[in-house]
């Protein structure tokens, strides 16, 4: 079956602009996660949804970052007033919740100029 998909695969924007990154989880997966991975580092947790609600958003770095999952399926990560330090690969993962085995998408590479 289809895996986790993320769009766009690459996004180049200018400092100060607004961006939206989309994640389509595996059908039927109730849990959805966003991570950020900088070059040479492991993924860093941002936020976790169980259904439509954010179960844990403690990883969001500041109030410029916001994520939604209005119907419990697709999720959008929104970044306002982008900064060069936001440049990274943004990974999305989904799971059924069982033993928390997460299936990752290919990521969106965000470059802020």
């Amino acid at each position: 079956g289809a895996g986790v998909s993320q769009t766009p695969s690459n996004k180049v924007t200018e400092k100060g602009k607004y961006v939206e990154l989309r994640c389509d989880p595996i059908s039927g997966h109730t849990a959805l996660y966003w991570y950020r991975q900088s070059l040479g580092q492991g993924p860093e947790f941002l936020i976790y949804f169980q259904g439509t609600g954010a179960a844990d958003d403690s990883g969001l770095p500041n109030d410029r970052f916001f994520a939604v999952r209005p119907e419990g399926s697709v999720s959008t990560l929104k970044i306002q007033r982008t900064e060069r330090g936001d440049s990274a690969v943004y990974l999305c993962a989904s799971s059924t919740g069982l033993y928390n085995e997460q299936f990752f998408g290919p990521g969106t590479r965000l470059t802020v100029l």
Binding site: V4, Y33, Y35, P43, Y48, Q50, G97, Q102, F103, F104
Partner: protein, 114 residues
């Protein structure tokens, strides 16, 4: 402060050699997972260990969870060029943090030369 320390960060070996990657923490985890990631792709789960002292084998890969559930190791026997990639350990439920939140190590970049 990195909650999970992986070592070594880089490993370059010849095909046929054995290797071990370590993942250490001062925190207790409810479970620990190992992932492999290739360039331009997301991490792919290799194994989950949940019981202290647990050993799991996946063909030439052997995973061990420490008795105190604070550390883990990945051992590869007779490495092949196809094993090349970034290996990540990730723990869940450390220090009272919520389930569903994985904490990743910084990764080990393995290069296997023919």
């Amino acid at each position: 402060t990195q909650l999970l320390e992986q070592s070594p960060q880089f490993l370059s070996i010849q095909e046929g050699e054995n290797l071990t990657v370590y993942c250490n923490s001062s925190s207790v985890f409810s479970s620990l997972q190992w992932y492999r990631q290739e360039p331009g792709e997301g991490p792919v789960l290799l194994v989950t260990v949940v019981t202290g002292g647990e050993v799991k084998k996946l063909k030439r890969l052997t995973f061990q969870f420490g008795d105190a559930r604070k550390d883990s190791s990945l051992h590869i026997t007779a490495a092949q060029t196809g094993d090349t990639g970034l290996y990540l350990c990730a723990g869940e439920g450390a220090g009272g943090t919520s389930y569903g939140k994985l904490t990743f190590g910084q990764g080990t970049i393995l290069t296997v030369h023919p």
